[in-house]
Symmetry: D2
């Protein structure tokens, strides 16, 4: 289904070349101050055309809030938000009607649904993430209101360029200072060069986004299926082009041993704290008060200008090369989307914990 | 919540030292032939004491089917299955009542619930996975009945020992031939040595399980949040000790470029097929008919015999060393659990696709 | 939450005096032919101002389909539909800001949410049902496509006027022939007189809507909680002003005895059929192939022009009389909404049965 | 599915003649004091053989709690409870293998599932309600712990005998004082006579159960689909033999007019209160602090000793008369089940309101 979340639940709608894309956010508690500009701000971070590194498709992606606010506050009822699709080019996708683009969802949609909207990827388009980012902005405001939870993501790797950013000191300002959204200026510069070269080569690059959540209170997440990290994994793998997820030590941690991997506890001012954070802030699926740190792998963009072998819908071999505007590397625009997904998961579990924490604990 | 799945849904119950652990499988269609032995077979692959590599805790884990079968067939109503907890040792856990084990869920449970069953990890115990494996056995039978879908997992890495198994040719027999559940005999031998050394050292090892699903028809998975790979990611990260998930090229693929990463299509006998499988059998969240291949990272077991720094529930620093029986490496026993989770996700999406595929496609 | 349905699921949004009201329909299978006019047709049957019997609030309620259709067919992805709220009268609701209208949701919203949009009932407004009716139009088309399921509702009682309509012969044409939506012309005439008198008296009337579903195949509905009649009951009681629900013999059947109430079976051309239908087409929560017949009780409209005792938000006693335009009897406009709810429940269970009916029954 | 509830969720399992019936209660907050005797007490009120008015099938229905409690307190994890089926009579149901009992679920199960367990109704058996009652006992304890919410049901009508009980003064003691569970002794006596006569006649009787919830705080229930009364309606119609549901004035209220039906507000010590309660304690789907009052219609028991016309599974006409033990009137045993369903709905909405009430309302 097109819904995500148990108590803080979003439902997205819309395809790349339909009338609009949008989202219904259900379950946001009443009393959250929200202005449309706060939603727009996050949308502007994911929109095309924001820098020369990303696709030049021209969409200003202006959001309209259709419901759920009154007198500047959430009412507790669904918050519907919508962005009109503006940049229609009739005929621009005619050449894709009868061919399956490699490593896109063209063939799989056809296998699933029997027919499909071939224009711009339809529902598989990254435009669907507009609704997620808008919903994420609501979650961000909620989490800032009820706690000081702060979520920050950045580009940590592009192709073979590793930024080696210290999660403890990364800031929003440093991330936004460069179009790559890599807070390490030296790495950012090399990433820029690599992305521009890929564009010139008709090629594309992948990479890794790291996301950190600070000030997460201990106790969020449920012990079995709805572990905090399990929900984060689903959230991240539900993003277009995502191929991997790690929390804390992740795959690298599999090469450590228990004596060095275990996070020792020491007394803290407000309960026990760990002196290392290989757990990534989550133990047994539940937050422990340390920073929640995850990494998300994105494959190289499937749309490339170089020629590729493929087949037509009639089953004939053919050759295809993408025309027009596209991202040689989705990483910079993926950053606000990854943040949104982390915010949505945390908001949901924050509300769930309210219900669990019902009986006084004298 | 303790439920997983939308149409093929399991609900697990029970903690390590309660009366029983079990599962209710809801939504299994009527008409699946099932015998209790088929469930027991998979449970025997995860149970303690099965080899000298795993914990010697002695549980025969005999399953009882409480409902949902009649005349050897599923009836379409809930299949409840239960395993009694046998190996109670009163007092064995008294020393853990007032201390938080590092990198376990002790502290986080207390933060979440205010009180906890300290015996054997309670609900966070790996015994909870008994219900998953039993449910997975039902899913396995369903998928074998309606299609020829086959799911196979194996140990691909232990600490720094990489098995380099060819997913295309791995067999159940080869996996089960060695207690490590690594189908590469040479690697298995080295893994055995490493695990035994870790036990002697009072240490523990992590690693990677690879899982493959063969004969998955194209079209399974939903395009936005409930992508096949997103649900697999959640399923795997919901396992105890899991820290990472990859599908297809995963993190390594982020270092490739689009021209080499894209999977070219060529005509196949039954629709287009890809000549490479960096996608891991899933494109846009939907299966494309190629093998679905995932990798799951497991951290080194948190329970170790070596001394570790921690704090008491009263907030005092202390030192803890595990007593008794435990797994120096969970990987061999994780194999059937990883299989179960993949089976459960596939069964759910197989049924969901039935509803989507409602209108004739002439 | 603002969602309804398991596989065919709608999510409504919007309040009376916000920017728009609408719905996202998720789970409609691909391949359903749908035109915006088919949705508009049902909306026109519920809109204000359609006859002199209903409120004269002037809304043309023109629907826009935002997503989910391509080339005139559903794509399988969410169908979002929206109606702009047009008839804003700034200040028209100022006198309701600080007072709780009796038997409205004013006080309960305030108790629940702490603050509320007092204009026109906000989310409790009957305008919320626009989204339901639009979604119902999609369900109607789906059910007509996959089966010949037909749903028809009518006004069966207004205050003490009982229409005594034969469910077996009622037709859409007869229902729509009179603004009361009562297919018995003589009763319709008396209802009209009663409604007009109530308006003159500053009073309001309640009544009963009967709904019938024909050609429902046997087997829809699930045996325990999601019984077909249980879901219909929830659907109907979720409507504004609904106070009761019956299926088949309902409350009257409690005064019969088993020997006369039981529906005898006799052989039919296509399986057993019942010679009476006290069951209302549902036995054990599952359709039996007979007509599904339900009745829904609606209380007299809470908004009346007569003076009523109430209290202010500050807790002071006061007196209130409604101003402006309102329905003295909601029954005629409730008819398409009741149909929509029945259609939505049937569509959901039709799809669910697809998944259950997975294994060949040779 | 076999689950009910969003945050306080039960999943029942088991059929009449399988090994066991039971329930998993998920989402009960930690810290609820619960003893097995408290669950057994409610089960004893629904069990067969408790009085000469009900079926003499001999089941002592001893419950075992399998998980979710530690040191006498709920842990926050699933509470699984099970009752073994004891009274198996091999062959007792052989005569029902090839025939459809009128107004039972025999034919509809076969239409739905293709095959069925014909023994004692299988999953449609009233034994399924054991799980509901056990779960209801947990909800009762939770609601008593967090608020003083009290739920009481009684038999208000049997066939044409109306008890005319004052809901405001009915007590548990008065209800339990008579095997009919009608707190009006004079009516109870007549009901007893009618039920005994029905048994002698090989016939059966229906009736109405009224249920009241006291001390429900204002604000429970959600405004659109998950209205408190909508969820109650679903809960009640999901019970075997239920054919109707009313809240407050119900069907009778449709014959009143707005001026008399509206419930005037007056100032109360703790917010506004209504001077009448036609609303039944719910306005706009949300509790208003008044008593929640509902009525549930139960049809005459379908199992009767008299001969009835029916057909065989092969489609041949035949005649059937029930053998053995059965209830000539389910009403007395339905009382604790109706209470359980009301408790479950209230517990769920109580927890949901916790999440909504997240932001301070100073």
């Amino acid at each position: 289904m097109s819904s995500f979340g148990h108590l803080f639940r979003l439902t997205t709608f819309g395809e790349s070349h339909g009338a609009a894309v949008g989202v219904v956010v259900d379950g946001c508690p009443p009393g959250v101050e929200l202005e449309v500009e706060e939603v727009q701000r996050d949308l502007d971070r994911r929109r095309p055309g924001q820098s020369r590194l990303v696709t030049q498709r021209d969409e200003n992606d202006a959001v309209e809030i259709l419901s759920g606010l009154y007198d500047g506050l959430s009412t507790g009822t669904p918050i519907a938000m919508m962005v009109r699709n503006a940049d229609h080019r009739p005929g621009a996708y005619d050449h894709l009607r009868d061919v399956y683009r490699p490593s896109h969802a063209d063939y799989t949609y056809e296998a699933k649904y029997g027919h499909r909207d071939h224009r711009g990827g339809g529902r598989a388009s990254a435009r669907e993430t507009i609704g997620r980012v808008a919903a994420g902005a609501v979650a961000r405001k909620l989490l800032a209101t009820v706690a000081d939870i702060e979520v920050l993501a950045w580009v940590d790797q592009v192709n073979d360029i590793d930024a080696e950013v210290d999660p403890g000191t990364a800031t929003f300002a440093a991330v936004e200072a460069d179009p790559t959204r890599c807070p390490n200026p030296e790495a950012a510069k090399r990433m820029t060069g690599a992305i521009e070269q890929a564009r010139r080569d008709g090629d594309s690059l992948g990479g890794v986004v790291t996301v950190i959540a600070r000030n997460v209170p201990p106790g969020l997440g449920e012990p079995v299926f709805d572990k905090l990290d399990a929900d984060l994994a689903k959230a991240m793998l539900s993003l277009p082009a995502a191929k991997g997820f790690e929390i804390g030590s992740g795959f690298a941690g599999t090469r450590m041993t228990g004596t060095t991997h275990n996070d020792p506890f020491e007394p803290g001012s407000d309960g026990p704290i760990t002196t290392t954070n290989h757990s990534g802030g989550v133990q047994g699926g539940i937050s422990n008060g340390a920073d929640v740190i995850c990494r998300v792998a994105f494959k190289p963009t499937a749309t490339i200008a170089s020629e590729q072998k493929t087949v037509t819908t009639a089953g004939e071999p053919t050759v295809l090369a993408a025309k027009g505007r596209h991202d040689p590397c989705v990483l910079p625009r993926a950053v606000p989307v990854v943040e949104a997904m982390a915010l949505l998961v945390l908001a949901d579990h924050y509300l769930r914990q309210r219900a669990i924490d019902t009986i006084g604990r004298g």
